[in-house]
Amino acid sequence: MGSKAIKIALILLSASFVTIMLILPLVTVLTYSMRQGWRIFVSYITDYYTIKALNLTLLAAAVTLAVNTVFGIFSAWSITKFRFRGKQALTTLIDIPFSISPIIAGLVFILIFGRIGWAYPLMEAWNVKIVFAVPGIVLATVFVTFPFVSRELIPLMQSQGSEEEEAAALMGASGFLIFRKITFPHIKWGLLYGVILCAARALGEFGAVSVVSGHLRGKTNTLPLHVEVLFNEFKLTASFAVASILVVIAIIVLILRNIVEYRLKREDG
């Protein structure tokens, strides 16, 4: 009897918490952005600068995913399949982006590539602009999201062990064939899960990108930054409309994540 009451109380508590903290804000964003009607909403989200920001966000996310997928696979592979000195240190270092503030990550790039940075003359000589330009945004996004894929793969590859790979190597299979035929089938869902988490974070990244971007509208403004810019200009409806694009992307990612999570569980069982 008592346990049933506790059960109901706990369910109610968590349901109302989720409603107030998570669902309510999302619904507010969507309803507020529709406040002036569908036509206005569409005009806001098809605005030139919004489309530019969306493209930049997608570009940064795409590059980030490519880089971090490759990096994640390589690092997880080296950590789980080889013995070497400093392995523990490498594992810890990979987690740095999770433990430091994104703002600091952004500042680091300013300090390296900015006008006062030590790499500035070098970049100047090669005629590459990093800070307050697209490469800086991509760099910051990569930095902030790079642990996702390897964090997801390391436990998975550890549990698989390296015997199957050794067996294949013993029979003369090349490294790439071993990866394609033996390692990849085992990690594909975990990899996809890591990639999705990475994508969600890359699309929504604000802090680090905000520092290196310079907020040049139509040039270095990503979607989250564009929301802030509009908000600061008191264009509330427009800013909420743009935010609703991010909400929709988040919901799509959430659904994808659930599908992949389901497949991952089935693979285990």
Binding site: G161, E163, E164, E166, A167, A168, A169, L170, M171, G172, A173, L177, K181, I182, P185, H186
Partner: protein, 352 residues
């Protein structure tokens, strides 16, 4: 010698996994590397396979030095402890893998794999995935996969460890027969002395990274060269004060002795055979072992184990019995010496 290991050393950090390991394997022989876990037997196997590189020493297979050859070029088949079957491939693809990698002709691969599947008696299971097979079936597939590319040397790492006791016995004789049929030189690793004795032509006993003794199971059983080998093969109890046993005297340099249950004969006191060679003990416990009785006997404070046939005299706990000890293995620092019961000899007749 077909396989020849010379002074192999391997160190993992502060752990000496192989300490001057040398031994040879004759062509067509089935050799068991036997030792407790951590004794370095798997390291030896992995060095032969090329999965570990020795710090020093030479590995010869068929007269060729293998140290600098990659694993795939050594002509070796390896059966892993947990089989390491490719879990996302069918039985057929698993066995075919080594041939596909070597870019063999499609028809040849099909024929060779079918032949092997028939050989291991798993016809009809070609399309199964490893997780749909029993432990014994997995082992057979692993075995066929290792044999598919026609290796000259087969290595097996704890081939029976992951299988339950009943199937294990069956598989042991199956593996032995099959290896004999194929005629391939084989080395397997085990920590189970019963398994090594039953399966191997010759046993290499390892301990702390060193080779303690090499010989046929009978040789090692009858004539162990080191205290470790004496204690590891067969069942035994250690007796510290063996000079007190009737028929034996303390020898300088041999601090203790090993007594095997099969060297102990127990009798009812009234049916004593050699009164001068026997002494009285008390039965402390009796265990039924399925086909014999195992008795724990207290002999003046010294515990020992004796076997009694189910058809022999019946004893019960607390009985006074007459105990006759035929022989002991005296353990020195690094040597073993066989000691027979002198009192039997002096009486001038033999026990039949």
């Amino acid at each position: 010698m077909y396989v020849e290991l010379k002074n192999l050393n391997k160190r993992f950090g502060g752990f000496q996994a192989s300490d001057n390991v040398s031994f040879g394997v004759g062509k067509g022989k089935l050799i068991g590397l036997l030792g407790p876990s951590g004794s370095g037997k798997t390291t030896i196997l992995r060095m032969i396979a090329g999965l570990e590189t020795p710090d020093s020493g030479d590995i010869f297979i068929g007269g060729t030095r293998m140290n600098d050859l990659p694993p795939a070029k050594r002509g070796i088949g390896l059966v892993f402890q947990n089989y390491a079957l490719f879990r996302y491939m069918t039985v057929f693809d698993n066995i075919a893998f080594g041939l596909t990698v070597r870019k063999k002709d499609k028809k040849y691969i099909r024929d060779r794999v079918s032949e092997l599947i028939k050989f291991i008696g798993l016809e009809g299971l070609e399309k199964r995935r490893p997780h749909q097979l029993s432990g014994g079936q997995k082992q057979r597939v692993a075995f066929a996969r290792a044999l598919a590319p026609n290796p000259h040397l087969l290595l097996l790492d704890e081939p029976f460890a992951a299988i339950d006791a009943k199937v294990r016995k069956e598989l042991r004789s199956w593996l032995r027969d099959t290896i004999n049929k194929v005629g391939i030189t084989s080395v397997f690793v085990t920590h189970d002395q019963e398994e090594a004795v039953e399966v191997a032509d010759e046993i290499v006993i390892t301990n702390n990274g060193r080779v303690e003794q090499v010989g046929t199971p009978i040789e090692i059983y009858k004539d162990p060269k080191t205290p470790f080998a004496a204690g590891f093969i067969g069942k035994s109890v250690t007796i510290s004060d063996y000079g007190k046993l009737r028929g034996f005297e303390k020898i300088e340099g041999f601090e203790s002795a090993l007594l095997r249950p099969e060297s102990v004969h127990i009798m009812k006191p009234q049916k004593e055979l050699y009164p001068h060679a026997s002494q009285r003990g008390i039965v402390e416990d009796i265990f039924f072992k399925g086909d014999t009785l195992e008795l724990r006997v207290n002999l003046d404070g010294q515990k020992l184990i004796a076997y009694q046939s189910l058809d022999g005299a019946a004893f019960s706990v607390g009985d006074e019995i007459s105990v006759l000890i035929y022989r002991l293995y005296l353990l020195g620092e690094n040597t073993v010496r066989l000691a027979e019961n002198r009192s039997i000899k002096s009486e001038g007749n033999f026990f039949i």
